[in-house]
Amino acid sequence: MADPTLFHSLTLEGFRAYLQPKTFDFGKKPCLAIFAPNGLGKSSVIDALEFLFSEHGTLERLGQRTLNNQAGPPALEHNGAQTAGIAPTVKFTTITGKITAEGSRTATGNLRPIHAAATAMKAGFVVSPIIRGYTLRTFVETHSPENRYSDVAGWLQLSSLVDVQKNLRLLRRDVKAAAEGTTEQVRLAGLLRTETAQAIQAWDDATVLGFVNVSVIAPLDPELTLVALAAEDEGYIEVGNRVEAEEKRLGLAGLKQIRNSLIALWQKILPEDGGDAEYSGAIASFYKALSALADAKATEVVERDKAAGTVFRSVWKEAEKLFADDATAPDACPVCATAIGDTVAGSVAAIRDLLMTHLKDLQSYNDAKAALDNAETAASQAHNQLVARLPAMIEHLPDDKGDGFKTALIAYQAGVAGWPTVEAPDSTAVVAELETRLADLDHEIADIEAKQGEHTWAKVKASIDRLLKMQKDVVLATRTTEQLTTLHEALVAQTTLVSGKIREKVQSLLDTLQAPMNDIYKEIQGANAKPIRLELPGEDDSNQQRMQLVIDFADNRQRVAPGGYLSDSQIHSVALALRLAAIKKFNSAAPVIALDDVVTSYDADHRRAIGALIAKMFTDCQIILVTHDERFFNHLKDQLAAKDWQFTRIIGLDPAFGPRFADHKVTDEMIADRWAKGESAANEMRQAEEEWLLGIARGFGVNVRIRQLEKAYSYERAELASAIGGFLGDLKLTPADVPGVNNRFITSLVKGDIENFGSHFQDAPYGDGSIGDEQTRWDEFKAFREQFRCACGRTKYQRPFGLNKPVCAHDKCETQFAFKAPAAKAEVTAILATSGANA
């Protein structure tokens, strides 16, 4: 069996309340209890432990202070650490058997990585070892059953099983949704609506069959019907036959295609208003272009002849400038210097007429030449168009024996192809034949359209085929849905089986946790406390990932939640018991328990019970405990083994140092220091009184009476005083009255009249008196205490076995105990002045 890992030391430095290094050494005494009033740094020790093992190097409660202003990791650092030059760090040493491991974790910077030694120790924490009092009630009341289930399953290392159950639940949900889903049906319905032109909204065999017979087949043949929408139906087979027949003859589409090819060559259109016929098509365009070209050529020849005389075109152009109307004409020819009057024209005016004639001839020729060029281009384009369109028409014509239209058209095509090298062939015969054929085609098409419209057997079959496929898809979708439904039912059965097995597994482990939990709970709350049960939901509950904490509160209140029926301390006890039981059971590899103020809601009896619980059931654990409850602290001191436990208290928080620890009893000087600072010393007085009573009770060997249940709120000092009073009464020893106290002091202690300082001056318990009241009260106590001083001056007694009366514990005195004679008032004053140091 492997040795457990424990803390061997813990050092806080610049961390939280601790500025200067403070080391807690667990080498000789592994357990530690720290008492301190609130705000003095006791919880920083628990914080250090949480920080050491924190995944992200922070504290959970730093994020809980306020919702939107989290203190965050910077709050780990002591606020004076930077100024003091101290690196905020938590150092630790662990011990496993004889092997120690040192580690540390820096509390500043972004990384703050966890140390390997802490990781190794953390591996032993199945359950978080830290229990904070303020979380206990939350654990019972606010924690949802789902979270509690997840937590407990985590402790039991069954988180993966929780995930399995969660995934099974999600899968059940998803498969159910798929089984109930209609996506495929909706898609098919959409296709059906499209196929039937919105005539049918949802698939129905009879409706679809009716649609096929009436709307798909009847337009072509009302006599033909399908008996069933099936590939083997005789009607469907006949449709296929008709498709084949249709393919063998020219259909409407083919006729239209031939017609398109024909009118691309030639079409004669008679305007409805009775005007001249218009011709279109490539043949008409070509011959029209040829005609235009011939005209252009003729015009160009004429104009070229006219312009032939104007051989010196540039001369005429230059001369035009010299003889312009608004210019001063020259007296002689600028070329040959012949006088104007000596020229053939003979005058400037005649020269101007001559120029105009020649220039007009030049312009006409230019126009004719441009028109010829355009006509040639247009003819070429029309020729190209005709050459391109003829093959399509030829393709549509049936072969002949050399005497048919196809042969004629091919010959015509060859003639056209020879242009412009040769003259374009005559198109008269071709055009006449095309015109005849176009008329025949139009007639044929009109006949078909009148008969069946756009319907064809091919379309009919295609539509039926699509519906057949759709029918198949619908059947498949329906069957798939049925199969999914069946599988979902099987899935529910199987997941119920699996979930049940996991539940059994968890419940069996819960049972092993439940017993020790109730043992602990009863240790705190008494044997009559109603047992707490950890319960999973019933088998038929769809959500198994919940865990209830329930009790049978009364006959008519069975299996009720504790929150509604238990007291605050009971609820805390439930949570504390569960956590402690889990830690004890599962953290055997690192049996460390850190308790942070876990008794705040408990009364005196329960505080004592928790002390007894730790002493009885957790001796195999290393416990690090902090409390601000002094009584609880004193109970622990009273009950826990001195060899394993170290007790210390924080007496102040020095901002420049950190928490100041006291390693001695409360002294009169400590009380006087309080008063000197103007502060109440009530806590110290109560502690000093109790410590003194404990010392006397221990020395006298008195029997502390077992308290009655009805005195659950009796005070421990009263018990001690009662025991001491009873013991003295048996010995017939009576302390003298204390001056200023009406009744006997020991009686007041027993009755609890002066249990809490100020309570014998005030009606309310726990009342605070003034410092003067405290001083008076303290003087009375010291006067009472002084009577117990031995003649030798010492105050420690013992009662060896067999003696009735205690004797002075000093081995050189051993004087039998007897009350000193009551001091006179003046003596009392003197005693009070000097007794403090000997308290």
């Binding site: 492997a2 040795d3 457990p4 424990l6 061997h8 030391s9 403070k22 080391t23 050494d25 667990f26 080498g27 000789k28 005494k29 592994p30 011990i95 120690t100 069954l158 993966s160 099983l161 995930d163 399995v164 995934n167 099974l168 899968l171 498969v175 798929a178 498949l476 069957r479 798939t480 849905t481 049925e482 199969q483 999914l484 069946t486 599988l487 099987a490 199987q494 997941t495 699996v498 097995k501 597994k505 482990l509 092993t512 055997s588 590899a589 049996p591 001796t619 195999d620 654990c621 004193n634 001191k637 009273d638 001195a642 060899k643 394993d644 170290q646 007790f647 210390t648 390693d663 009893k665």
Partner: protein, 95 residues
């Protein structure tokens, strides 16, 4: 009865942790891996169980390290199984 409070010592201590803190008994339960493996086998061996479905659950979910999309993958597998069975029925119907 009570005891004195003691300050914590700064000096090094001997490595002799109290015997009372000796290792307690640790229960060795079957691990989740083993448990789930056994559970898978139990499931498949159950009477009248749909073995194909049990196989899907075992492959996708009854594991401590499920795929990130384990649930979606399992659902797809179940849907495929349903489609396969539906198609098979149709083939039978078609002869």
């Amino acid at each position: 009865m009570g005891q004195d409070e003691t300050g914590t010592s700064e000096e090094a201590a001997a490595l002799d942790m109290p015997a009372a803190l000796a290792a307690p008994q640790v229960e060795q339960a079957d691990t989740p891996v083993v448990f789930l493996a056994n559970l898978s086998e139990t499931l498949k061996a159950s009477d009248d169980v749909d073995v194909d479905l049990a196989g899907i659950l075992s492959d996708h979910l009854l594991t401590v390290t499920p795929h990130a999309n384990a649930v979606a993958n399992a659902k797809v597998a179940i849907a495929a199984l349903a489609a396969k069975r539906a198609a098979s029925l149709e083939d039978q119907a078609d002869g």
